[in-house]
Structure formats: structure tokens, C-alpha cells
């Protein structure tokens, strides 16, 4: 499903963020991406989410190399991804409900169907956002916005979930609610790659990890890395 081959990234005038990163993920895999602040986790996830291109190397998603894929195929790939960016990036003009519904609509689902509305409501309920559904996204707290971003990513039942620090602004209860949702999606067949600083999560939910340190990625098995 996801193949990184000798991928390197640096920005103009800066030193390399990471280099020669190679790993694969199959359907149903769960991978933590861990590393210190500034290690390049977000850059790596943005590349996988097709938001940026690698400076060198190749990223392939669902068997398609992103460098040469057609516009229509790229669009289809993006519709199969659920991305939770670090900055949430909700559309402030839209309500909570509409931000989540828009994701579903862009994935080709009919938003107006009762089943779709029920699915969105259920997700919002689980994340404690039922009272905020008609609030504009710009009126939410950081933690609420982050939960909306997760709901937006998961509502479209993606094949690949990319989450960048999705629990960073959450209390313990919501942290585990979110992890519950990710794990449930993973059990349902979605591959999940999740960047986190939270050692407790990594300790309690043992999964394979990719440790980003000094520009290199080391893959660790589900043994405790902390």
C-alpha cells in the first residue's frame, strides 16, 4: 500500500531533514512514527499525504508512484486517504458538521443521505462534539478542532490513515477515545501511520514503530521502545 524508497527531503538553503528513508506498509498495518521535535515527522507525513514531494527518492501509494501519477489517479488516491494534519486545518467558514460532511462529499459519498448524516452524528457524539455540530470551526478550542479533524479523516472510511500528533491537545479520556477509533479503523482494514510524542500510547498499544533520529529512520518491532 505504501512504499518509500530512498526518500530524502530538505528545503532550500537548509540541511537535510531526513535521507534515504525506506519502508513499506501493507493493508491493515499500524505504524507509529516517533522522534524528537524537529526530527522531520510532519515533513514525512506530508509527503505520504501527497501534500509535498520528496527532494529525492520515490513514494508509492496503492501501487502508484506519486512522481508520475496522473491527475485523476492522484485525486482518487487522495480520496482514499484520511489525513489528520498537525495544524488541523479546518475550514473556518464552515460548521463542525459541514467540515466533516465536506470530507465525505469529496470522497464521492452523497452527503444528503440519512445514513451519511447518521454516521457523522455518531462520530461527533463519540468525540464529545454533539453540542458543537452547528458551531463554526473558527469558534472551537484547539482540542475540539483536533477532534473534528480526526472525525473528518475517519468519516470517509479511508484505506490509509495518516495522523500527525492527533492527541497532542487532548486530555486522557479523549486521547483514548481517539486511539480507540484509530484501532477500530485499523481492525477494519485501514493502514494507520501515526506520529506521536505520547510514550504512554506507544507503551500501552504496542505496534511497529519507525523512529526518526538524526535524519534516519529505524524500524522497531512491537517491543517497547520507551
Amino acid at each position: 500500500m505504501l512504499v518509500l524508497t530512498e526518500v530524502s527531503k530538505w528545503y532550500h538553503g537548509q540541511s537535510r531533514i531526513f535521507e534515504n528513508v525506506s519502508f513499506e506498509m501493507k493493508k491493515g498495518d499500524f505504524l507509529y512514527l516517533v522522534g524528537g521535535t524537529g526530527a522531520g515527522k510532519s515533513s514525512l507525513l506530508r509527503m505520504i499525504a501527497t501534500e509535498e514531494s520528496p527532494t529525492s527518492g520515490q513514494v508509492s501509494l496503492f501501487g502508484y508512484p506519486l512522481a508520475t501519477v496522473s491527475e485523476s489517479t492522484l485525486r482518487a488516491i487522495r480520496q482514499s486517504i484520511g489525513y489528520v494534519p498537525q495544524g488541523t486545518r479546518l475550514i473556518p467558514d464552515l460548521t463542525v458538521f459541514d467540515n466533516v460532511a465536506l470530507s465525505l462529499s469529496l470522497a464521492g459519498h452523497r452527503v444528503i443521505s440519512a445514513a451519511s448524516k447518521a454516521k457523522i452524528s455518531e462520530l461527533l457524539n463519540r468525540l464529545g462534539l454533539e453540542n458543537k455540530r452547528d458551531h463554526l470551526a473558527c469558534m472551537l478550542s484547539g482540542g475540539e478542532a483536533q477532534r473534528v479533524a480526526v472525525a473528518r479523516a475517519l468519516v470517509r472510511t479511508p484505506e490509509l490513515i495518516i495522523a500527525d500528533e492527533p492527541t497532542g491537545a487532548q486530555d486522557r479520556d479523549y486521547t483514548w477515545s481517539l486511539m480507540d477509533l484509530f484501532l477500530k479503523a485499523n481492525v477494519g482494514g485501514a493502514a494507520v501511520i501515526l506520529a506521536t510524542h505520547d510514550r504512554e500510547i506507544v507503551r500501552r498499544v504496542r505496534k511497529r514503530s519507525a523512529v526518526l533520529r538524526k535524519g534516519q529512520v529505524t524500524l522497531e518491532d512491537a517491543a517497547c521502545i520507551y
Binding site: A49, T50, E51, E52, S53, L66, V69, E71, L74, R75, A76, I77, R78, Q79, I81, Y83, R89, I91, D93, L94, D98, A101, L102, S103, S105, L106, A107
Partner: protein, 297 residues
């Protein structure tokens, strides 16, 4: 629905930019419409001025008074049913009366000639209007006409001036259209920048090209259409008065056509289409900018 809300974002965030742009579009459209009306109307005036002339046909001195009407009828027959052709006999008394104001002594001397004045002062038929060049020869062949001459090109300097005016009006129209479209494109780029964050998210979530273009299209269309409405209102409310004012400047301009209500709809359509096209350019540049910054297709 979501895209429509996104399209309205510039109206929430930068309303005065949209409003003033719409006002500018309306004014420029109205000005362009007026210039188009004028240069198009002047074509009729120029054609008329080019063709309008005066033939002076001198009657033979020997023609008796009773035969003069026959000659007049024959001359009228040359022009047949030509509308707007005026045929007028100027007899000796009228001729002398016309000279008296400027040359009173000459007129007294001529009057003192008595019967011999018929040898000196001609009778002539004055034919004025717009007619073909071959009519002069036809008039010369009329029995009782001694000679005839045409004024020919008497309005040439005015025709030249009006032709130049038409060209200048067209150049200014092109300039106005260029300014209008440039202004709309810049506004659309501003609007595209205001919508950039949301468009980036939409692109990342797999939005189609049409979905990405839609907010910019609608934003541009709104401004262009509003400008078109303003131009239409201006045309319908001020057009008739403006047209009357221009036509009253000179008798020559009386042949300018009246302002037509149809033009107001054309102005509205041009405003809307310009806004739509500018919205496309603005959207494309916004998407391109987002791609360049992201470094991804």
C-alpha cells in the same frame, strides 16, 4: 453549498474590495457602452455626410416662365422617389434678395439694368440631399437646363474629423475593456489568495478541478454581474437623456440613433462573463501558487 460559502468568503473578509470593484466595473461598462453607441452611430452620420451634396442647375435664359414648372418636374423626375432630396427653384428676384444683405450696391446696379437683368442674373434649380454621383449627368440632360454643377465633398473636413473620432472611440473602448478585465483578474487573484487555505485542503482531500475552480468562478461572477447590474441601471436611467444631450450638440448629430434598451442587457452579460473569466484566471493562479508552495501536483 460548501463551495458557495467559500465563494462568499471574500465578501465577508474584504467586502469593500468587492463593492468598489463592482462599482468600477459598472462605470467602465457604462462608459464603454456609451463609446460604442457613439462610434456606431457616427457611422450613419459619416455615410450621410459623404453622400450629401448640392447640385446647382442653371436654367436657359430663354426659358419662358410658363415652362419653368415643366423643367422643375423633369428635374424632380431624375431623382424619382429618393427620400430627403429637396428640389427648389431660385428665381431672379429671390437671388437678388439673397444678395442684397451683403452686396446692396451690386443689387441696385443689377436692378437698374431693367429687362436686361435676365441676361446677367440666372435662374437656377438647387437640389440638395444624398444621391448618387450619376445624377449630375442626368440633370444636365434635362431639357431647359443650360448647365449644372455639384458641390461634391463639401463636408470632407467634418467627415475626416468624425472618422478620426470613431477610431479614437474604438481605441478607448479597447483600453477600457483591458482595464476592466485586468482589474477583475487582480481582484480574483486577491480572492483566490483569501480562499487559498481552504482550496489547499480541498485539493488534499481529492476535490476535482471543477470544485477547486468553483469558488473563484462564483466570486468573480458575483462582482462582474453586480457591475453589470450597475451598468444596466445606469444605461436605462441615464441613456435617453445622455443621447438627447449629444444629439442636441449639432444638427449633424441628429442622425445618431436613440439609446436602445437591448444594449443594457448586453452590458450586463459582458459584466457577468468578464467576471466569470477573470474568476477562472484568479482560481488557476491560486491553485498554481498552492501547488508551487506544496511542491506537489
Amino acid at each position: 453549498m460548501y463551495l458557495l460559502r467559500l465563494a462568499l468568503r471574500p465578501w465577508r473578509v474584504a467586502p469593500w474590495s468587492q463593492i468598489f470593484s463592482a462599482l468600477a466595473v459598472g462605470f467602465l461598462l457604462l462608459l464603454a457602452g456609451f463609446l460604442f453607441w457613439m462610434q456606431d452611430g457616427l457611422k450613419t452620420v459619416v455615410v450621410r455626410l459623404k453622400g450629401e451634396q448640392v447640385i446647382t442647375a442653371y436654367l436657359q435664359p430663354s426659358i419662358e416662365s410658363e415652362a419653368v414648372n415643366r423643367v422643375l418636374d423633369d428635374v424632380r423626375g431624375v431623382f424619382g422617389a429618393d427620400a430627403g432630396v429637396a428640389v427648389q427653384l431660385v428665381d431672379r428676384a429671390e437671388f437678388l434678395a439673397g444678395l442684397k444683405g451683403s452686396y446692396p450696391e451690386l443689387v441696385r446696379d443689377l436692378e437698374d439694368l431693367g429687362q436686361q437683368v435676365s441676361q446677367v442674373v440666372p435662374r437656377y434649380v438647387s437640389i440638395s440631399g444624398v444621391f448618387a454621383a450619376n445624377k449630375l449627368d442626368a440633370v444636365r440632360k434635362v431639357s431647359g437646363i443650360e448647365s449644372a454643377e455639384a458641390s461634391g465633398d463639401r463636408y470632407r473636413p467634418i467627415v475626416g474629423a468624425f472618422s478620426a473620432l470613431r477610431w479614437i472611440a474604438r481605441v478607448i473602448m479597447v483600453g477600457i475593456c483591458f482595464a476592466l478585465f485586468t482589474g477583475l483578474i487582480h481582484l480574483s487573484r486577491l480572492n483566490g489568495y483569501l480562499q487559498r487555505d481552504a482550496l489547499g485542503i480541498l485539493r488534499l482531500w481529492g476535490a476535482s478541478s471543477m470544485s477547486l475552480l468553483a469558488p473563484g468562478l462564483v466570486s468573480g461572477l458575483l462582482v462582474g454581474a453586480l457591475g453589470g447590474v450597475l451598468a444596466t441601471s445606469g444605461w436605462l436611467s441615464l441613456g435617453a437623456a445622455l443621447g438627447r444631450q449629444v444629439r442636441s450638440l449639432s444638427p449633424i448629430l441628429n442622425h445618431l440613433p436613440a439609446f436602445s434598451a437591448q444594449m443594457s442587457w448586453i452590458l450586463f452579460l459582458i459584466g457577468g462573463i468578464s467576471g466569470l473569466l477573470a474568476g477562472v484566471f484568479g482560481s488557476l493562479s491560486g491553485i498554481q501558487l498552492d501547488r508551487q508552495e506544496g511542491g506537489q501536483g
